[in-house]
C-alpha cells in the first residue's frame, strides 16, 4: 500500500491526509463487516443442525421440578434445618454497635 502523500497529485495538505484517513476508516469498517458476514454464515450452517425448542424441554422441565428449593411451598429432596435460620432465635440488637451513617 502506498504511503500517505504518495498517491495521486496535489500537495500534502488537509485534503489528501483527510482522504487517507477516510480510506483507512472505510477499509477497517469493511473488514469488520466481511468478518461479521463470515460469522453469520457459520451461524446459519450451525442452525441447520440445531434441533427445535421442544427437543430440550422435557429434560428442562423434569430437572427443574426435581431440585430441592427452600423458597417453594412444595419441594423435593431433603430439607435443611438451616433453611429456617432466618426465623430462629432473637436478633441480639443490644450488642449491635452499628450507627446510622
Amino acid at each position: 500500500m502506498q504511503g500517505p502523500g504518495s498517491g495521486g497529485g496535489g500537495g500534502v495538505g488537509g485534503g489528501e491526509a483527510g482522504d487517507m484517513r477516510g480510506r483507512h476508516r472505510i477499509q477497517a469498517e469493511l473488514k469488520k463487516l466481511e468478518q461479521e458476514a463470515r460469522f453469520l454464515e457459520e451461524e446459519l450452517e450451525e442452525l441447520d443442525k440445531t434441533e427445535k425448542v421442544s427437543a430440550a424441554l422435557q429434560e428442562f422441565v423434569v430437572t427443574t421440578e426435581h431440585k430441592a428449593d427452600p423458597l417453594l411451598p412444595v419441594t423435593t429432596g431433603a430439607a435443611y434445618q438451616s433453611w429456617d435460620r432466618w426465623f430462629e432465635g432473637p436478633q441480639d440488637l443490644r450488642r449491635c454497635k452499628c450507627w446510622f451513617l
Binding site: 458476514a37 453469520l40 427452600p70 430439607a79 429456617d84 436478633q91
Partner: protein
C-alpha cells in the same frame, strides 16, 4: 489501490449482505420455535406454584444507607452481603443479625456495581470513575477511619456497570462497561488478561450493563447490553463472541445464568424477562406483564434472579413491583412489592443467598430487605 468511492460501494454491498444474512438467520430461527416453556408445561399438565399471602415474608430490613441502593452481592458461604449506594459507600452486612460489619467510604461516590470475592475477604466496586476498586476487609482503617483501597483496576474507557469474581478464584474478575467491552482481570497484578469486544467484530455495539458467569462452567459468561442483545463469551477466546442472542427490544439491564448452567434469564427496558437456551441460542420463553389498565408505560425490569432450583424467577421493576414468576408456567405467582413491609421505591438489585433460602432486594428507598419462606413446607 481502490478509490474511496469504490470502497464506499463495497461497504454498502457488505452492509446489505450482513443485513440479509441477519434476516435469514432470524427467519430460520423462527421456524425452530415450535413451542415455548409455558405451552409445553401446560400441555404436560403442570400447574403453577401456589403461594399463600404469608408464605414469603420480609424477615429483615437492613437500614443504614443514606442514598439509593444500586447493587448488592452475597458471599458464597457466610450470610454476608455487600451493598453499594448513591451515598458513595459500600456496606458489608451480616444478613442474619442485620449488623453492619464494614462501612467503606469510596473515593468516587458514583458507584454502580459491587461484588464479594469468593473467599469473603475482599469486596470490589466500580462506577463512573471507569475503574474497579478492591478493598481487603481485613485491612486496618487509616487515621481518618477510611478503609484503604488495596487495588484499582484501570483500563476501561467508560463507566463500570457490572463486576463479578470468577467463582472459586480470588484472583480473577470480569467487568462490564459503558465502553462496550467486558474485561477479564488478574486482580493480584491489576492487569487486563483479555478484552471481550471493542476492536473485534462480534462485540457489543453499545454499553454493557450486566454480566453473569456460568456457575457450572466458569470459562463461559454472558453479557447484556444497550444494543438489546446478550453475547456469550469463552474466557479462552476473546477474539469473538461464541453466540449472540436476539429478542429483546430494549436495553438489557440484567442477565443471570439459570442454576443448571444451560440457560440464562434476562431483564430489559422493554418490560419483559426472557429465558434463552445457551447452547442452541433459542428464546425459550418471554415473561411479559399485563399492560396497565390506565395504559401507562410498562415498567422496566431492573434486575432478576432465579431461585436455587430455577422454578422461580424474581424480577424487580422500576415501579417497585417485585414479581415472582413461575418459570415453567410463565405466571406471576406473587408480588413482593404488595406484601406487608415491602419497599417503597424501585427495586434496583436482587440476589439469592448461596443455599437459596433467602432473597435480598435493594431499593431506591435506601434499604435492603431479606425475604424467606415462613409458611408450611411440604417435602415430597
Amino acid at each position: 489501490m481502490a478509490s474511496v468511492a469504490e470502497l464506499k460501494e463495497r461497504h454498502a454491498a457488505a452492509t446489505a449482505s450482513v443485513n440479509s444474512l441477519r434476516e435469514r438467520l432470524r427467519q430460520r430461527r423462527q421456524t425452530l420455535l415450535d413451542t415455548d416453556v409455558e405451552k409445553y408445561s401446560k400441555a404436560q399438565g403442570r400447574t403453577a406454584v401456589s403461594f399463600n399471602q404469608t408464605d414469603l415474608v420480609c424477615c429483615r430490613t437492613l437500614l443504614g444507607h443514606s442514598g439509593k441502593v444500586y447493587s448488592l452481592d452475597w458471599t458464597p458461604e457466610k450470610n454476608w452481603i455487600v451493598s453499594a449506594s448513591q451515598d458513595g459507600r459500600l456496606i458489608v452486612w451480616n444478613a442474619l443479625t442485620s449488623q453492619k460489619t464494614h462501612a467503606i467510604k469510596l473515593h468516587c461516590p458514583w458507584v454502580m456495581t459491587c461484588a464479594f470475592a469468593p473467599n469473603g475477604q475482599s469486596v470490589a466496586c466500580g462506577g463512573l470513575d471507569s475503574a474497579c476498586s478492591i478493598f481487603n476487609l481485613n485491612s486496618q482503617v487509616d487515621r481518618d477511619g477510611n478503609m484503604p483501597v488495596s487495588r484499582v483496576l484501570t483500563g476501561h474507557k467508560g463507566y463500570v456497570s457490572s463486576c463479578q469474581y470468577v467463582p472459586d478464584q480470588e484472583t480473577r474478575m470480569i467487568t462490564g462497561s459503558g465502553d462496550q467491552t467486558c474485561v477479564l482481570w488478574d486482580v493480584t497484578t491489576g492487569q487486563r488478561m483479555s478484552i471481550f469486544g471493542g476492536e473485534f467484530p462480534s462485540g457489543h455495539t453499545a454499553d454493557v450493563l450486566s454480566l453473569s458467569i456460568n456457575p457450572l462452567n466458569t470459562n463461559m459468561f454472558v453479557s447484556g447490553s444497550c444494543d438489546t442483545t446478550v453475547r456469550l463469551w469463552d474466557l479462552r477466546i476473546a477474539s469473538r463472541a461464541v453466540r449472540t442472542y436476539h429478542g429483546h427490544e430494549g436495553d438489557i439491564n440484567s442477565v443471570k445464568f439459570f442454576p443448571d448452567g444451560q440457560r440464562f434469564g434476562t431483564g430489559s427496558d422493554d418490560g419483559t424477562c426472557r429465558l434463552f437456551d445457551m447452547r442452541t441460542g433459542h428464546q425459550l420463553q418471554v415473561y411479559s406483564r399485563e399492560p396497565d389498565r390506565n395504559d401507562n408505560e410498562l415498567p422496566i425490569v431492573t434486575s432478576i434472579a432465579f431461585s436455587i432450583s430455577g422454578r422461580l424467577l424474581f424480577a424487580g421493576y422500576s415501579n417497585g413491583d417485585c414479581y415472582v414468576w413461575d418459570t415453567l408456567l410463565a405466571e406471576v405467582v406473587l408480588n413482593l412489592g404488595t406484601l406487608q413491609n415491602s419497599h417503597e421505591g424501585r427495586i434496583s438489585c436482587l440476589g439469592l443467598s448461596s443455599d437459596g433460602s433467602a432473597l435480598c432486594t435493594g431499593s431506591w428507598d435506601k434499604n435492603l430487605k431479606i425475604w424467606a419462606f415462613s409458611g408450611h413446607r411440604k417435602i415430597v
